[in-house]
Amino acid sequence: MQHFERAIIKISRFIDLMAGVVLAATAILVVTNILGRVLLNRPILGTFELVGFLTAAVVGLALARCALENSHIAISFLTDKLSLSWQRFTELVVGLPAMFFLFFAAYNMFTYGLRLASSGVVSSTIRLPFYPFIYLLSAGFFMLATTVLLSLIKQVTGGKTK
């Protein structure tokens, strides 16, 4: 269990770091495009498409750590008034469907990526394929679902809550 938890935390932190790198690269791309457009009259072709794809990558890579740090907004003032055992019970009641939905979303997105890969769909300007970014988002949802699974295991085994 501890190995599983440590692995989830390490992977989430690492991919979140990657999200930061991608975000910084996106900002640099946008500013370089402006400079190219204004100073040299030569904008970077496909910036519009790339920025969209890179934003999806940032979101996918950052989802899991956001959940690990309890940053996805939830309302706790009602459940806080319950006893600890009831709090564990309600977390299970809402955690299970949330986890199944997130695993399902990850799988669903993966199959969507497979379909786009086989049909060869690419962006209109720089002919960039969509599917790598969809796979990345799918992996992000998988990691997000895994963090919910980790939290549920802790509830069941009586481990410290996140």
């Binding site: 975000l23 498409e49 009641v93 939905f101 997105m109």
Partner: protein, 435 residues
């Protein structure tokens, strides 16, 4: 099943799930998916989840969100807030309640480089609260003034809440930013007036601070205000002038803060790393909300609830302002329990058609009003986000005491809202210049 019945059941289940502490984004996506599947087909719902989520995230228009968030966190870590407070403190700190008045000016100016009200409250709280404690300010006034002032940033551009409203209501982010400027500064002056009146009546709540000479004041002006003005002008000025897209304005703002901080010798790898970590976390939270709201919104649209609401409002024998007042009351109540961003994403598909199509209100004006009302939620119990942030800084002050000090600020927001409803030009004049 009747679509309306499915819609109402879906909304009830959603509220039940969030009351049981399911993250709002998960609840919106889950209920939206099941509701959509129940009214169409399972395969259509499958397609909805994959295509809508990817389209929502891989969207150039949404890339503005991480840019302005990063700009704000950079400003936070670079210490711009401290320099602004130093300026405001030297200008008005000697007045009754002067340090709390200085806090409002600092929050408003910091809001001009930061899009997040929680980041503003945390930044200014850490700087202003120890100072107010030193001059024996009553904790209820000092903490409440930081919590309320932090929310000024939602009106003063760049504002992440305006960006999210713009996405949900399909309105120009640039126009919304312009529309928020006058109401934002008006609210700042009303907050200042409220503090002054409270401190005049009960001087022990906010004793005057030290008085500084004009030489010292001018020195502070050079370091604090100048950098904010430079960043604001190159970033948002370019957006208002039509040179930049909102995403470009955000990226230029990021470059501006980096440059200004580097020129002052304060840029470190730590600042970049910490600001990026906070930005990716906040971005993931907001974007998941936005993506989930798209799924929930599709379900609500096919349930025909928005049409039924519009028909109901049209059939009401009430003047338009009474219907708007009713909508605002709903927002006010929900805003006490639900986060501002989530509330806007959740309700705009339902209430916007009523306000704009049926009642004929300007969607930009409606956005300013709604943002101001939901911003009240960040300082009202039981889920006043800014109050919890300030509590995190002033750990010894009980929550009840902070909420007790909020009243003068709530009165100021009500006065501001009344003025905005009576004189919509306060919000619509600046965006009309863009025509």
């Amino acid at each position: 099943m009747n679509p309306m019945t499915a819609g109402l059941i879906g909304i009830s289940v959603f509220f039940l799930l969030i009351a049981l502490k399911m993250p709002i984004a998960y609840a919106m996506a889950l209920v939206g998916f099941i509701g959509f599947a129940s009214l169409t087909t399972l395969s259509a719902a499958f397609a909805l989840v994959s295509t809508e989520l990817f389209s929502a995230f891989a969207n150039y228009s949404l890339s503005v969100i991480p840019m302005f968030i990063w700009m704000g966190f950079l400003a936070y870590y670079a210490g711009i807030g401290a320099r602004l407070y130093n300026l405001a403190y030297k200008l008005v700190g000697h007045l009754p309640g002067g340090l709390a008045i200085a806090t409002q000016a600092t929050c408003a100016l910091f809001g001009a480089v930061c899009g997040s009200n929680t980041a503003t409250a945390a930044t200014i709280g850490a700087i202003a609260l120890p100072e107010m404690q030193k001059y024996k300010y009553d904790p209820s006034l000092s903490t409440a003034s930081v919590a309320a002032g932090g929310a000024l940033g939602v009106l003063i551009p760049p504002s992440v809440i305006f960006i999210v409203y713009g996405i949900a209501a399909e309105q120009s982010v640039g126009r919304l930013f312009l529309a928020g400027i006058v109401p934002g500064f008006l609210l700042m002056f009303l907050y200042m007036l409220a503090i002054y009146l409270v401190a005049r009546r009960r001087p022990e709540l906010g004793p005057p601070g030290p008085k500084f000479g004009w030489v010292e004041r001018f020195k502070a002006l050079g370091s604090g205000l100048f950098e904010v003005l430079v960043i604001f002008v190159i970033s948002l000025g370019g957006l208002f002038a039509g040179w930049f897209t909102p995403t470009e304005a955000g990226a230029v703002g990021v470059a501006g803060v980096v440059l200004v901080t580097a020129l002052q010798g304060g840029l470190t790898l730590e600042i970049i790393k910490n600001s990026l970590a906070d930005t990716t976390r906040t971005t993931a939270m907001i974007m998941l909300l936005v993506g989930s709201a798209v799924i929930f919104g599709r379900f609500i649209a096919i349930s025909r609830i928005p049409f039924a609401m519009a028909d109901w409002a049209a059939a009401l024998d009430l003047p338009a302002f009474a219907v708007i007042a009713l909508i605002l009351l709903i927002y006010l109540v929900l805003g006490c329990f639900i986060d501002a961003l989530a509330l806007i994403l959740l309700t705009i598909p339902i209430f916007l058609p009523v306000a704009v199509t049926v009642l004929g209100y300007d969607p930009i004006w409606f956005g300013v009003i709604i943002v101001m009302v939901v911003a009240m939620g960040v300082i009202t119990p039981p889920v006043g986000m800014n109050v919890y942030i300030v509590k995190g800084v002033a750990k010894t002050v009980p929550l009840e005491l902070i909420f007790k000090g909020i009243w003068p600020f709530l009165v100021a927001i009500f006065v501001c809202l009344t003025l905005l409803i009576s004189f919509p030009q306060l919000a619509t004049f600046l965006p009309s210049l863009l025509h």
